[in-house]
Amino acid sequence: MEIEKVNKISRRKLLGGAATAAVMLVQTASGKAVQAGFTHAELDDPTKVPGVLPGTLGSRSPFEKPVKAPSSTSSRTPLQDLYGTITPSDLHFERHHGGVPAIDPAQYKLTIHGMVQKPMVFTLADLKRFPSVTRVGFLECSGNYRGADDGKIRPQEICGLTSQSEWTGVSLSTLFREVGVSSKASWFLAEGGDSAVMTRSIPIKKGWDDAIIAYAQNGEAVRPEQGYPARLFLPGWEGNTNIKWIRRIEVSDQPFMTREETSKYTEPVADGKIRQFSFTMDARSIITYPSYPAQVEKGYIEIRGIAWSGRGKIVTVEISTNAGKSWNTAVLQEPVMDKSITAFRFLWKWDGSPTEIMSRAVDETGYVQPFLKQLLAARGGNMGYHFNPVTAWAIERDGRVLFRAT
């Protein structure tokens, strides 16, 4: 053992010289201290020194610094800094009601009881033994619209409570069969193991259709902020129903009328009514480039963005480059998946005159993303949850890009 250790150290020392130099170079490349013994030219040319050796974990380039925008209750995904459709797990938006709990996976249990033949307890290891399913899907907080009168607002603030991951877990229907859910059951309560002991009532049909108890996200264990070690994932449904840190499911024949589904995630609509159990997220899109705070130049601009619908696939994204006077069809990037974020793009040549650009999503049910004024008219002038308006960007003569409400 002792000899092996010595050998290891000396071997490390041997190779370590080069590795250390390379680490210094990474620091130098980002504009930090220049080490004695190297010339500027050497330090700035990565072909002149060996690179960093293989490691145990990869890391983001120090030149790239995308960050979420946190408040006391949520943290928003930097949509304007991302590419493609999968949100890096550490940039997935956060919304929780009592902070992120620390849960020991060895102690974790999911209990299913109520209107079942056999109430059961599943450990994390049990959940992983069942046949697994993997699917891509977006998650979106139902309170996900902001504007700004001065136009100085990024996609991150407008609708950054939207993210997408590949989720892996066990179908809830598999667990329903295992415990023998009663044919008379119509709802189930999902309860989290956080300090809010967050609860939502969910129609049993969704549990049978496509609900997942997810223990993995983008190829690794679900992140603590996303519900480690296991969470409910309900494709296309408002974020707060996707109970994180799920510890208990109670099968019932009526909803439980929890605080979240009565006093919180409900929306005043026309005639003084309050709409409840509005689960599905309506179709939406946003242009993420160009968007505030980008500044553009005359000539070719590839307009890029994302579109999604909780009702199914996106079939069309329409683009207007003349403030809504006429619309053209954008290119959708494959794969276009059910209840998932789809990337779109549209090649445009800007002539330098001020205009407004905007995108409008259409899903496979024929739903067309509305303008803000349409939504307000449909809901008696009330703002609130489930606001998914067309978002416009004004392109100023000097190339500045500013938000415009529609």
Binding site: F122, T258, R259, I274, F277, P335
Partner: protein
Amino acid sequence: MAGIVVSAFTIKVKNDRQTFLTQSDTLQPPERYGFGRVATEREIAMLDIDVRPDGKGLPPGQGNSVRGREIYIAKCSACHGATGVEGPNDRLVVGDTTLVKSRRVKTIGNYWPYATTVFDYVRRAMPFNAPGSLTDEEVYSLTAYLLHANGLIDAKKELNAKSLPQVVMPAKKYFVPDDRQDGPVIR
């Protein structure tokens, strides 16, 4: 209105996948896998803290607003204000809304459709810095205080598993189920 899709191979890939699935030799799922274990009544009882509008789940015990007010001042007023209207966190009591600008004031008295929800939520999640620390009697008392402060029950009314579900909440009549549906109509 079909979108332009960037792949000439969509249909081919789909067909290949279907072929693969039909040719798979994977076993058919059994009725049950036998993973997990039966939950005992005792462990379910320890977890099962929810309370339904019909009162199912309410524990023994009782409380009134006089006792509730004392508990409120000691454990709740720092976040919700001396009388439940001042904040800084959620306003719990309707009170005088004439000074409130813009946003609709959503409180227990004018927005919560079920009185049982107050008990359920306070017991599971409050106080914010010591969630789940209140006794059932304390929760009954706090619920009574909050309902009384909203003008919904008398100061001396005893709340228990029988009387709490009978409290009628004014906002209940406004609640309607989601009427949005697939298709082009904006609601």
